[in-house]
Amino acid sequence: MVAIVKYNAGNIRSVLCALRRLDVDATVTDDPSALRSADHVIFPGVGEASTAMSYLRAAGLDTVLTDLTQPFLGICLGMQLMCAFSEEHDTPCLGMFDASVRRFPSGTGDKIPHMGWNTISGFDDPLFAGIARESYVYFVHSYYAPLCAGTIATCTYADTSFSCALRKDNFRGVQFHPEKSGPVGERILRNFLAIR
């Protein structure tokens, strides 16, 4: 069973629809025991970091999530919340990844948010098995995780090369939206579900 973490962030329905298209049974839950017993956990997110973190802390989900041991995938804001800190309203986050999330610089001539299809490269992880370099995936974000030891895929925007995927042990996160990235995104989700 795949568990999708239920909290106050958008795009849960999109992720659920994407899993249904793969004929995968998924449950949307904030119940700690259901999260602990799931084979895979997906942590989606569209929204603002401080509001999401307050909600997770109040619900006691912060420690539940960091203690999980099965394959875990954060998406977009989900990935940013897995970092140590976010510049968005100076928010301490969950800290699975040793990285500090920053806002894209303005004045580069590139519009913010980074929205649309961009290419990803430089990966070496089962999450990207069968994905050609320079494949296009769909992004919508104004904040990014810098390159760091956990970087498993990179993308460049606003003169900034950033981590579009991170990994630490069982925890993975992607900045883009695999659930909205056509066949490439579908393959990445299937790859994640194949990780044991």
């Binding site: 298209r21 929204g47 948010p113 290419t119 050609a132 296009y136 990235s181 056509g182 579908e186």
Partner: protein
């Protein structure tokens, strides 16, 4: 590099696509979900669905349709048409839409843009602007344009560039700019208008209205500096096929996403 986006637009009435769409290889081209899936396979980067249902009673069918689209389609999509309130938008986003587009209501009540941005985030708020050339708004050397509402029938007395700046300041995440003078002509996009608006705001611009050839797309991306281009009938009537268009654009130095059939196993 961020790709320029190609966006087919589907008009929907009572849950069915309109404009005699001619697709021999689809079981039911009137089925918006079938047509959307077709465009998605062809490499469309996003889809836009406009509800042109005449009666309020039938609006519920659009929400059902949005739910069916979200079940099936794995690229982003925007829905619009007849949105009057924050709760209308909440229903459409809950049904699975990624973005909503708002037009007449924004002119009537501009504060709704800020309300939507605050509640759902700017990234899902597309402000549609319909414009017509109006010499009364000319300023030294530049052509003036006026904002119209109600499908281009009603003038508002508002100058278009000032309106674009205003809605961007209020929190719109993207502008869908349609020249009603170019729409349906197939003589090309309003390139100068697109560029002027794009130069005056720092949010993405989707150009719409007037696409008739592949060169028109090159032009609106190159000279017009559009981030995305939207068209309807030239795609629906197979005058331009999206895979062919993307290759043409790439060969003319425009960054586009050309999806592989399926990623290698």
């Amino acid at each position: 590099m961020l790709a320029k986006r190609i966006i087919p637009c589907l008009d929907v009435r009572d849950g069915r696509t309109v404009k005699g769409v001619n697709f021999v290889n689809l079981r039911d081209a009137g089925d918006a979900v079938e047509l959307a899936a077709f465009y998605s396979r062809q490499g469309a980067d996003e889809l836009t669905f406009l509800d042109i249902t005449a009666t309020v009673e039938n609006r519920g069918t659009f929400c059902d349709l949005v739910r069916r689209i979200a079940d099936r389609i794995d690229i982003p999509f925007t829905v619009g048409g007849g949105i009057r309130s924050v709760s209308d938008v909440g229903r459409l986003l809950d049904a699975g839409a990624d973005k909503i587009s708002i037009n007449s209501e924004a002119v009537k009540n501009p504060s709704i843009i800020g309300d939507l941005a605050l509640q759902f985030g700017s990234q899902c708020v597309v402000c549609a602007i319909d414009a017509r050339r109006n010499p009364d708004f000319d300023t030294d050397g530049t052509e003036g344009w006026e904002v119209y509402v109600h499908g281009g029938r009603t003038p508002t007395g508002i100058e278009v560039v000032s309106w674009a700046k205003h809605v961007a300041d209020l929190g719109a995440g993207e502008l869908l700019v349609t020249s009603m003078d170019h729409d349906g002509t197939k003589n090309g996009f309003a390139v100068d208008l697109t560029r002027r608006i794009g130069d005056s705001v720092d949010i993405p611009i989707i150009a719409s209205g007037g696409a008739g050839s592949m060169e028109h797309f090159t032009d609106v991306f190159d000279r017009g500096k559009a981030d995305a281009a939207l068209a309807a009938s030239i795609f629906h009537f197979h005058q331009i096929d999206i895979p062919e268009l993307k290759i043409f654009l790439r060969n003319h130095g425009i960054t586009v996403r050309i999806p592989q059939e399926t990623p290698e196993e």
